[in-house]
Symmetry: C2
Subunit: 258 residues, 2 copies
């Protein structure tokens, strides 16, 4: 049996996130339906991780088993033909039989996009967090660097994730940087893994820093005292993009556009 690895982009606006939920449109649900149509039986599709409702991906990685002997180029075309236009398969290839996009991921990169113009262009409304209010962007940039390193990110995890006993909330963030691109503030973070809502909560805390409600000491405290603070506030899902996933076996800088 083959193991197929795909890279896909999606606009999360219309979906209740990655994970299959009965009766709701999800990315995983659409993919499993599309692959099942080719395979002729139900197929389960794994990914590098769930994305929340409304979160987008420029290069999510997923994998599934396949008996069908269709060449990967044709598989890519066939999937894009049946998938809705807000989900696109960018790449399809043969993978090792034991390839798992979540357990073998070495790094993931997310970007959070904040629109700073007084009026949000209608064409960007689903892909940015429109924040036209005063913001100390220098402080935002400075505080973002504090996330770098290995920390217990309990204070940045979704409330329902905090209750999972035993699972470590320590993650390593290799880079956490902010740049201005035109009228947008782009917060990009690359790390070993991310807890549920982690990037949205990090962004929300940075916005509070920029507004003057929190400072560098407050961010440091949230990293040093896991569980001492309620997470968030979470920035809205629509500004968040999964940019790419890296695997140890991949050649450098491939396949995700990092």
């Amino acid at each position: 049996m083959r193991r197929i690895r795909i890279t896909l982009a999606y606009d999360g606006t219309a979906y209740h996130g990655w994970q299959v939920q009965p009766g709701l449109a999800t990315i995983q649900g659409c993919l499993e339906e599309a692959v099942a149509g080719i395979e002729g039986r139900p197929v389960s599709v794994d990914s590098s991780g769930r994305t929340d409702a409304g979160v987008h991906a420029e290069a999510q990685v997923a994998a599934f088993h396949l008996d069908n002997r269709i060449p990967v180029e044709n598989l890519l075309r066939a999937l894009n033909q049946v998938l809705p236009r807000d989900i696109r398969v960018l790449d399809a290839r043969e993978a090792a039989p034991d390839f798992h996009p979540r357990f073998q991921a070495a790094a993931k990169t997310y970007e959070y996009r904040i629109q700073r113009t007084p009026i949000c262009p209608p064409f960007d409304r689903l892909y940015v967090y429109h924040f036209p209010y005063p913001l100390d962007e220098e402080r935002f940039v400075r505080c973002a660097r504090l996330f770098e390193g290995s920390h217990d990110f309990t204070c940045f995890a979704a409330a329902d994730e905090k209750d999972a006993l035993g699972a470590s909330k320590v993650r390593t963030v290799w880079s956490s940087t902010v740049r201005r691109e035109g009228s947008r503030l782009l917060f990009r973070v690359r790390g070993s893994g991310f807890l549920k809502h982690m990037v949205r909560n990090m962004t929300g805390v940075l916005v509070e820093c920029g507004k003057g409600n929190l400072d560098e000491a407050a961010v440091r405290e949230r990293l040093a005292r896991p569980g001492a603070f309620l997470p968030g506030p979470a920035a809205p899902a629509r500004g968040l993009f999964l940019l790419g996933v890296e695997y140890p076996t991949d050649p450098p800088s491939s396949p995700a556009p990092l």
Copy 2:
């Protein structure tokens, strides 16, 4: 009574075009409802021209009468608060009592966007015509220049516009150019006025030229022999943007981002 002029951007995807139609969502309908909410009585909103269902605008110009003495800055904010997020008022100002955005328009600029990558990025799907097939782009560029000048554009008008007796179909196109921007082919046309479906039909004919089905002589013939050819094929609405409208009384290069 005041005359207010507004510049607005909209994502046409969810609308049945500019013009009010009973029971259907239209740009004009949304605006008239928003202005009526401020004025406390029905208000009719004029524009520089109708746009088709699915066509977008970066800077449409509209105008309406108002008794309410709300300052224009507050009016702009109030309108954006009640309008859906896919319609944004970019500018609001006092205009001459007889200002009419259609009858006084001196020039309009449209842009048609064609996506040339094999796979259409999901985030662009509503804002481009995805044409991944072979296309002689040099011929496309060359043929676009043939539209420049004053011509009878009957062969590029919507079929239902051809029957309007007496109205001249002569329009002047000052510039009609194409450029490649990354993976997109951008056809930009600036002229004295445009017939219904004219830019979409021009684009469709240029695509036929690029595909090798039509040549420069065929384009010239369509301009020289009004009514001798069926219009089109029309390129899809979603690739078309109204970029701006110019008025003789405006200072140069204002207010539209041309």
